[in-house]
């Protein structure tokens, strides 16, 4: 199964042996010098800031939801290294096919917090990401998006374009039939896709051990003839290296790759979820010690490139994010046309009849006053 032209890390970190790619340890020490990606200090500082922005935006979104100003939200807490490493490797001409917990990658692609907020305020205009090309809307129907990514991969190959597709799924999603089908189609078609499994240990309340007997999730690639690798998802440098390698591989026409990003969801599944029902406080505390932001900060301090005033940065971000939230709150009112206008390219007569009936009711209601 192991191809000769496979990048070294995919051979050295064979998922069949349950090895995990790490570049820095929990304390921020470089443990794999030869694997350290080519990144200058400014890029590393920028990566930290992006992760910190995502973290701040997340905390604010949760707070807006708690204040009753926003509906259900899906926090990204603890998974920022994955999102920003992907975001730094995805180019404008590449496709992003998200699941629903990749906010940082969406922001990297050009989506704004205002759009994210609008979506979580219940407005499709936010979730369409219509100002950002080659980015599908958030996929709530677990696993189905991997097929869309694979079909896009076929288009890219067919049209002889130099593009890659970045797509995401969670650990629970790997149990869906569409996960296996998509890896199979992508393998047969040899299309340029980077599949990421964000293994954050829980599908709402169900732990990974209840999803699969597999030794890890990356190993699922083996049966489909696709290179797979398990990566420390809280190690920004390991994630960056994995994405860099996989996107080069995809863009050189060699086909798809699967990355299992081994991480932990520090927050709740959604704002309606209470993790204390299914996991222990000690476990959460243990993982909080290896928070990807902390690990990157420790590295930067050791390397003496830390120049960030977190308090100041946080205030700056909060102000900017709040302005975007307020702007989303003030978005023009949702019209009845917004329900009907986008279902078909030419509106069926039945829609006109149904909308007309509602408008008649409205005018009756108006006259009744």
């Amino acid at each position: 199964m192991i191809q000769d032209d496979l990048p070294a890390i995919f051979r050295d970190f064979n998922p069949l042996e349950d090895r995990m790619l790490r570049v820095i340890d929990d304390e921020g020490n470089v443990i794999n010098k030869e694997l350290f990606p080519e990144l200058d200090d400014d890029s590393i500082i920028d990566a930290y800031k992006q992760m910190y922005y995502e973290r701040t935006a997340d905390e604010m979104a949760i707070s807006y939801q708690r204040q009753g100003r926003m509906y259900t939200f899906t926090p990204n807490l603890g998974q920022e290294a994955i999102h920003i490493a992907a975001g730094m490797n995805i180019r404008k001409e590449d496709w992003l096919v998200p699941a629903f917990r990749e906010m940082g990658t969406l922001l990297s692609k050009g989506v704004t917090m205002k759009e994210m907020f609008l979506f979580y305020l219940g407005n499709e205009h936010g979730g369409s990401f219509k100002n950002v090309s080659k980015t599908l809307p958030i996929a709530i129907s677990i696993g189905t998006q991997l097929h869309h990514a694979t079909g896009i991969g076929y288009s890219i190959k067919y049209q002889k374009k130099n593009e890659a597709v970045f797509t995401f799924i969670g650990d629970g999603g790997t149990s869906e039939g569409d996960f296996s089908e998509a890896l199979n189609f992508a393998g047969v078609w040899q299309v340029p896709i980077i599949f990421t499994i964000q293994n954050n240990q829980y599908a709402i309340s169900v732990p990974v051990k209840s999803q699969t007997k597999s030794v890890n999730l990356a190993v699922k690639s083996v049966a489909f003839g696709i290179p797979g690798i398990k990566v420390d998802g809280n190690d920004f440098f390991a994630m960056y290296l994995a994405y860099k390698t996989a996107s080069e591989y995809a863009l050189s026409g060699k086909g798809p790759m699967l990355i299992e990003a081994y991480t932990y969801r520090l927050g709740a599944h959604t704002t309606s979820d209470d993790p204390s029902k299914y996991r222990k406080k000690e476990e959460e505390e243990e993982w909080a010690l290896v928070d990807p932001l902390l690990r990157l900060e420790r590295y930067m301090k050791k390397m003496d490139i830390w120049n960030i005033d977190k308090e100041k940065l946080r205030d700056e971000y909060k102000q900017e994010i709040d302005a975007q939230f307020v702007s989303a709150e003030k978005e023009k009112a949702y019209k009845i046309d917004d329900i009907f206008d986008y279902m078909y390219t030419d509106m069926p007569e039945d829609f006109k009849r149904q909308k007309g009936a509602y408008e008649q009711f409205l005018s009756w209601k108006e006259n009744r006053k």
């Binding site: 599908l136 189905t144 869309h148 076929y154 199979n184 078909y344």
Partner: protein, 325 residues
């Protein structure tokens, strides 16, 4: 002009679109080398190559889901699902994504794709090979559902389906795939989606049918003619959008309506047509609208199918009952 069966007419429509539009690709199970189990795609792989007409892995959800990905990224995929009963594994992709992507993306992405499959009973087949699931798809917002009954219509409707920016479910009546031969022009032409066709005008009762049931209805109409009953026959052609206007006009004229369809009667296209008759022609009705349709049971295997299949006699029996109500 050439003499064509429905199989040949669809093949011809696919050929025309493959030839004029490089964004058209066709795939599914056995559609390549074999040309499909019913030979609808015969010869197309040889003519257009394996990149454009190809066999995919055997997974209906994957076939439909990947087609959605292609449709949002510049291609116009046409996928074949091998049988009506094999559409169910693809149902999640169709209901959750294909039908919704345009709305979800606020029109940023359209979904120009066709899902075609043979449907219907009367061919002594195995289980899952005789279903008529048109109501399942017509009920989903965002889809167009089309069923031809003649070679001419099959060609013209398929051209429209491929050119539609909206996803189209194209159901092919397998029972009459090769049973009807018709002169069809070799040139390109299209038939608009959403328009029913009055096949035969009449004054006593409106018969609404589609697919393989048109031919059975025509036989029943001959029997009715001998009995002195004048029947108006409407071929629905598009299940959704449904041509409410043509139905309404006809029922206002005849005052009676019978729907002939193979699918299970309850919660069916027949039920929808009765609602339309009530809404559009209530004060003109002289008899309750009737459904001559399949039972609310699974379509039986070959031995039991004779009880399930709708015969011209049964249609005539219902015509007579309705006219004499």
């Amino acid at each position: 002009m050439s003499v064509m069966t429905i199989v040949k007419a669809i093949n011809n429509a696919l050929d025309i679109k493959l030839n004029e539009d490089r964004s058209v690709v066709i795939y599914g199970e056995d559609v390549g080398v074999e040309g499909g189990v019913f030979r609808v795609t015969e010869g197309l792989q040889k003519k257009y190559g394996v990149e454009r007409v190809f066999d995919s892995p055997l997974a209906e959800s994957g076939i439909v889901g990947t087609a959605l990905g292609m449709a949002v990224s510049g291609l116009r995929p046409i996928v074949e699902l091998q049988f009506d009963g094999f559409t169910y594994p693809a149902f999640n992709q169709i209901a959750s994504n294909v039908s919704r992507m345009q709305n979800r993306s606020r029109g940023k992405y359209t979904v120009p794709m066709v899902i075609r499959f043979p449907y219907g009973g009367g061919v002594n087949a195995l289980e899952h090979h005789s279903d008529s699931p048109e109501a399942l798809f017509a009920h989903l917002p965002g889809l167009k559902v089309v069923i031809p009954s003649t070679p001419h219509d099959a060609k013209g409707l398929m051209i429209s389906a491929i050119e539609s920016e909206d996803p189209v479910i194209f159901m092919e009546p397998k029972r009459i795939y090769r049973a009807i031969k018709q002169e069809v022009t070799d040139d390109k032409f299209s038939i608009p989606l959403g328009k029913a066709k009055v096949i035969q005008e009449g004054t006593d009762v409106t018969l609404v049918a589609f697919g393989a049931m048109i031919r059975e209805s025509q036989k029943a109409i001959e029997m009715a003619k001998e009995a002195g009953i004048s029947v108006e026959l409407i071929d629905l052609r598009s299940i959704y959008p449904i041509d409410r206007q043509t139905i309404g006009e006809s029922v206002r004229k005849t005052g009676r309506m019978i729907i002939v369809a193979e699918a299970h009667e309850s919660f069916s296209v027949g039920s929808e047509l009765i609602a339309i008759a009530n809404e559009e022609a209530f004060l003109h009705l002289e008899a309750p609208p009737r459904r001559v349709m399949g039972y609310d049971t699974v379509v039986p295997l070959a031995q039991g199918e004779k009880y399930y299949i709708i015969s011209p006699e049964r249609i005539f029996y219902e015509i007579e009952k309705t006219v004499n109500f």
